[in-house]
Amino acid sequence: MISEVVMATSGDNAPLWILAAGPAGAVATYWALYRYYRNTDKSHAYERDTLIQAQPVQGSEEKVDHISKTRDSDIDGDNSSKHRVRVERLG
């Protein structure tokens, strides 16, 4: 946290937003400690800790569009790592 603040302000003029470091650090500290005590975010990782035998993944991809200019550095609503977030069910 501190090193990030220092890095971000290595230019000549420090931007005013670094004053957010105090409140942000307080909130982050609160949640880190709370989670360490209460462990509300923990669960059994059955995606990994179960005996799973998978056949090779099948699939295809087809180019359907092109974005010529955007300020977004990634796709909207990326859920490729959120395995437990359900989407529309077919069948």
Binding site: G22, E47, D65, I67, L90, G91
Partner: protein, 427 residues
């Protein structure tokens, strides 16, 4: 990169007969009619009843004494009369679990995972007057018991009229002393901001051994997913006076993935009270100490319960099918994850589908050491749970909000001081 000539797949309907491992050869009309007329087969698919217990007594196979209990250090049953030690057959081999998952068809249910009915003479369910939990007690060995959640002493008058006898039980391995050590260690790392009352009342020796009901499932499934993926084609920076902005160009793809897989011994909570994972409970704690070495589970024999309590299973296979499908969908998503590398801007799944080709369900009691603490001011039950096979420990310790806030403010003030100093120094 694009596999042309691959038309967008209709889910399942366009599938050629026999192209999927889940569609058997087509039946002839006669066969289909015969199948439709057939009576449902009675009874469970896997008969797990322990014949040696037919007279209702658990006898030592050597001397016939009924004074039998679990010896924690070995996981064996021991006869207190002649010291003979033995264990029931492992269900894994006895019932051929874990094998043939590739050939599972439909829903196969073992005897103890069948719908819950009143069939146990000695094993009764008591409803705790303190917290309402349903606690299973083997009255052949213990006529009084304590609720493992709130430590209220249970009374036989609180009996509810059904019990559920599981197919298998995984005996306790960690001793009481070992569990106390794990719990003490877990809590002592969390003293500084713990609620003062918890610290004062913390007596890890009060830990109770409890068998919790689970359904252990082998399944065969095919999962498919559809969504959008983006690949970055260009990245550049434009200057606007003093500031500059980074822009991106990207190709957008329609992405399909599918994977067929089997799972062996997926373990799901069989008691509704523990299966609910909303924020008003601490049920995730008990869930987190999974998995167990369920391959070592043995045939049900209530002697394994002596000295422990257990909880009634109140969820049937039908109740848990949606949970199974949900977990299989997550497992499939994890399996296809590595095939998405080319999409460096990420993938957004929009649709998914699961076909469960077959599943096999076995009801099992799994051993947990539980230290529970009821926090009066927030009306929340906190636990520290120890997996009594692997020793994995997880818990919820009530926090002192004033201390936590004080610590957060201290850190915040410190950072703000540095930020202020930098601003002053560079102004």
């Amino acid at each position: 990169m694009t596999q042309d000539a691959t038309p967008p797949r209709e889910p399942s309907s366009s599938r050629e007969p026999g192209s999927s491992p889940f569609d058997g050869p087509p039946l002839s009309l006669d066969e289909e009619l015969a199948a439709a007329r057939a009576e449902p087969e009675p009874g469970p698919d896997i008969d797990t009843i322990n014949e040696s217990l037919a007279d209702g007594l658990n006898r030592c196979p050597k001397c016939g004494s009924t004074d039998v209990r679990l010896r924690g250090s070995t996981g064996n049953l021991v006869c207190l009369f002649c010291r003979h030690e033995w264990h029931e057959a492992r269900v894994e081999e006895e019932f051929g679990l874990g094998v043939g998952i590739d050939d599972l068809q439909g829903t196969v249910v073992a005897g103890g995972a069948d719908e819950i009915a009143a069939d146990a003479e000695d094993v009764v369910t008591l409803t705790c007057g303190g917290c309402g939990a349903d606690v299973v007690v083997d009255t052949a060995h213990a006529l009084n018991a304590r609720c493992h959640w709130c430590r209220h002493t249970l009374n036989i008058n609180e009996r509810t009229p059904n019990g559920a006898v599981p197919d298998a039980v995984l005996p306790f391995k960690l001793t009481h002393g070992e569990a106390v050590e794990r719990i003490r260690e877990f809590a002592s790392k969390r003293r500084l901001f713990a609620h003062p009352r918890f610290k004062k009342e913390f007596v890890p020796e009060n830990v109770l051994g409890v068998y919790l009901p689970y359904l252990v499932i082998d399944a065969r499934a095919e999962a498919s997913y559809a969504g959008r993926g983006e690949v970055q084609t260009r990245r550049w920076t434009e200057k606007h006076g003093d500031t500059s902005t980074t822009y991106y160009a990207a190709d957008v793809y329609r992405v399909d993935r599918e994977v067929a897989f089997t799972v062996d011994d997926l373990t799901i909570e069989g008691a509704a009270d523990r299966a609910r994972f909303d924020s008003s409970t601490t049920n995730n704690i008990v869930n987190t100490v999974l998995p167990f070495d369920t391959k070592n589970a043995v045939k049900w024999n209530s002697s394994y319960l002596v000295g422990f309590t257990s909880e009634k299973r109140d969820l049937d296979v039908d109740d848990l099918h949606p949970v199974l499908e949900d977990q299989l969908l997550s497992i499939g998503r994890a399996q296809v994850h590595d095939s998405l590398e080319m999409f460096d801007r990420g993938v957004r799944w929009e649709q998914e589908r699961i076909d469960v080709g077959g599943s096999r369900w076995v009801s099992m009691y799994l051993p947990v050491w539980l230290y529970s603490y009821y926090q009066e001011n927030t009306k929340m039950l906190h636990y520290i749970a120890v997996n009594a096979r692997t020793g994995e420990t997880m818990g919820s310790v009530p926090v002192s909000q004033p201390r936590l806030i004080a610590a957060a403010l201290t850190v915040g003030t410190f950072l703000e001081g540095i930020a202020g100093a930098i601003l002053v120094g560079t102004a």
